[in-house]
């Protein structure tokens, strides 16, 4: 390696370049660090632009145009925010009436006649809030169990993570089968307790509870893993100090564990809320979108439900993105002052 001395003294890498003689490599070597960084980011941002930024803007522009059900182009002229007004006032036409209350019991506060967008918004928000609430509590419990030292801990951890890794369609299939009256044990038990009707998967309220349980079953593990990371970063000597000072277990939890785990907990809750706001596959594979209409269900229904109302679908899709953006904003504002909190 005769080149060693050269490179050490000059800080240049001429020899390698001469040997390879590659113009591209040469060009890359001579870029400033900043330009090199942008070059490396280029593929990622090209992909994100094609798949995310461009479609997002395009969806917004589509949502400002009229629905056109005849002819090749499903989009008509520019109509401004009319589609948004229509979905909020219930004037938009969907192929099917969602939340068929004639079929079964419905949610007490969502009756026929409420615009379908509000129905879906209510269903989605209720789903997100309730599922994240229970996932947080159960996740905390699971994280506590995983935080202990015991034999077979590895396998318990595998068991607890496993539902998280199950494909959504199989998660849906499991709960579809459990509450399928001909096969599953779920309907019978719940009926005897007087909670469910005879066909729970066709009943909006019952099916809503089923998808909640299914989501909690699968996603508590995600919460548990993030909370566990928080728990394990807590300095154990703090507990000893608290014990000597005479703090009860509850006080130790409230004064030490909770504040120190809070940042991890908030991030986990934010992630889970975002995921719950996008719920679609679980509904589609258990009860179907007409029984439990979520916001994403509306978009799919508007596009494939018979009439092609693409502009309305785009308006619902973009409105969903806005609602999610609003929730992120609220999270960040509420927890901005949390020490080491999210962002």
């Amino acid at each position: 390696m005769a080149a060693d001395t050269d490179t050490l003294i000059g800080g240049e890498t001429e020899t390698e370049h001469d040997r390879t003689g590659n113009a591209v490599v040469n060009w890359m070597e001579n870029l400033s660090e900043e330009a090199y960084a942008y070059l490396l980011l280029l593929p990622a941002f090209a992909l994100l632009t094609l798949i995310a930024f461009y479609p997002l803007i395009s969806t917004f522009i589509m949502s400002l145009r009229a629905d056109q059900t005849r002819g090749l182009d499903p989009l008509g002229g520019f109509v401004g925010v009319e589609n948004y007004v229509d979905i909020l006032t219930g004037n938009a036409r969907l192929a099917r009436q969602f939340l068929d209350v004639s079929l079964s019991g419905s949610f007490p506060f969502v009756e026929l006649g409420v615009p379908f967008f509000q129905q879906a918004l209510f269903v989605t928000l209720a789903f997100a809030i309730i599922s994240v609430f229970f996932e947080t509590i159960i996740g905390f419990g699971q994280a506590y169990v995983l935080d202990q030292d015991f034999r077979g801990r590895r396998w318990v951890r595998v068991a607890i993570i496993l539902p998280w890794a199950v494909p959504i369609v199989i998660q849906g299939m499991i709960f579809f089968l459990i509450f399928q009256p001909e096969v599953g044990f779920g309907t019978n038990i719940m009926q005897q307790l007087g909670i469910f009707s005879a066909a729970p998967l066709a009943n909006s309220r019952d099916a809503f509870i089923i998808i909640l349980v299914a989501d909690i079953w699968k996603s508590s593990a995600f919460m548990a893993l993030l909370i566990l990371a928080g728990l394990q970063s807590v300095d154990r000597s703090l507990y000893d100090v608290a014990r000597v000072a005479g703090a009860s277990p509850w006080q130790r939890f409230k004064m030490i564990t909770l504040p120190l785990v809070l940042p991890a907990l908030l991030v986990a809750m934010l992630f889970r809320t975002m995921d719950a706001m996008r719920v679609f596959g679980l509904i589609e594979s258990t009860a179907g979108c007409t029984t439990v209409p979520s916001l994403t269900c509306l978009v799919v229904e508007a596009m494939f439900g018979g009439t092609r109302i693409f502009a309305t679908a785009a308006a619902v899709a973009f409105a969903t993105a806005l609602v999610i953006g609003l929730i992120i904003g609220v999270y960040v504002l509420l927890f901005r002052d949390t020490e080491g909190g999210p962002y």
Partner: protein, 324 residues
């Protein structure tokens, strides 16, 4: 529970005195209560075992029950709880005979592997830039990447559906009709983009932990910039790359929305496993025991991944979600 003045009793347990110091005449329950008061750690231990068994039962029972349903012969599916009504392991063979379930699984593997490769290559470059280089706009660009993972897929879907159904003449030799619909690309492209942010965060964390000295030494030795990245940084952060890969593979394999809408559901048109499982619901008579068997088969690949790579999954989720 929050009476703050309770300082007696708990202090003694800290000193690790065994519970049987007072030999009084007590019944077994009273004895147990007395022991519990003098050494609360034992109660916590008991509570811990109760909780652990509860969580094990609630997470594993659905799988166990699914297996029982799969093993029960068709027509006897009522009232299965802990034992099957009969024994018919043939269901696990029938799954592949009724529909080409193996083809769906193969498609899913191709799509998940393809996306993982794209994510790792493109994400490595971006993760390296974010983790090790200094440039203007680093934080805003990072936030932009983060925002992507928050948007609902429905907001991307309509234009993408349009794009993938548009005919491009240069694609005709490859896809036949010139569109990307019904090809793996229609799923690999959006899924790569959607799961890339998580991978970028994980890789950024891992790359930034490598000491600068090692890279400097390689550069002084005469390696090119890309050479240093691929010969020094990536091998040193192989655990991070593996973590990002495992998480991406699981995420794509599990995905529903694009996998459901970007093909027509036919196995020869690259429909993934979810269409296979839903197929038992649809055009054939309702074959519940096959649905259960197919679901079990579909879980096996991810179950193996979870067993083999559980540490990576845990570290990846926490690095991706918490470090940035």
């Amino acid at each position: 529970m929050t009476d703050g003045g309770q300082t007696t009793g708990t202090e003694r347990s800290g000193a690790l005195i065994d519970g049987d110091d007072a030999e009084l005449d007590r019944g077994p329950f009273q004895q147990w209560v007395a022991d519990s008061i003098s050494s609360p750690e034992r109660v916590y231990r008991a509570m811990f075992y109760v909780a652990a068994i509860f969580f094990l039962f609630t997470t594993l029972f659905p799988f166990y029950w699914l297996l029982m349903v799969a093993l029960t012969p068709e027509g006897q599916l009522q009232d299965i709880l802990f034992t099957p009504n009969g024994f018919n392991p043939g269901a696990f063979v029938e799954v592949f005979q009724v529909i080409p379930f193996h083809r769906y699984m193969f498609n899913s593997f191709v799509i998940a592997l393809g996306s993982t490769i794209v994510v790792l290559v493109v994400g490595s470059l971006a993760g390296y830039a974010f983790g090790r280089l200094r440039f203007r706009g680093r934080t805003p660009l990072m936030l932009l990447v983060l925002i992507i993972s928050f948007f609902p897929p429905a907001a991307f879907f309509i234009p993408l559906n349009d794009l993938f159904n548009t005919q491009f003449f240069f694609l005709e030799p490859i896809t036949g009709d010139g569109t990307l619909y019904n090809t793996p690309f229609a799923m690999v492209t959006p899924l790569s983009a959607i799961f890339m942010p998580l991978a970028i965060f994980i890789l950024t964390t891992f790359y930034s932990q490598i000491p600068d000295g090692l890279e400097d030494a390689a550069r002084v030795e005469g390696t090119t910039r890309l050479g240093a990245l691929f010969r020094v940084i990536i091998p040193l952060s192989a655990p991070g790359v593996a973590t990002a890969g495992v998480l991406t593979f699981i995420a794509v394999y599990n995905e529903f929305f694009f996998s459901f809408l970007m093909t027509d559901g036919q196995p020869q048109n690259w429909a993934p496993i979810l269409e296979g499982i839903l197929a038992y619901q649809g055009q054939y008579e309702v074959l519940y025991h096959l649905m259960a068997a197919a679901s079990i088969i579909g879980v096996i690949p991810v179950a193996i991944l979870v067993i083999v790579a559980q540490e990576k999954i845990v570290s990846g989720l926490t690095a991706g979600a918490l470090k940035e």
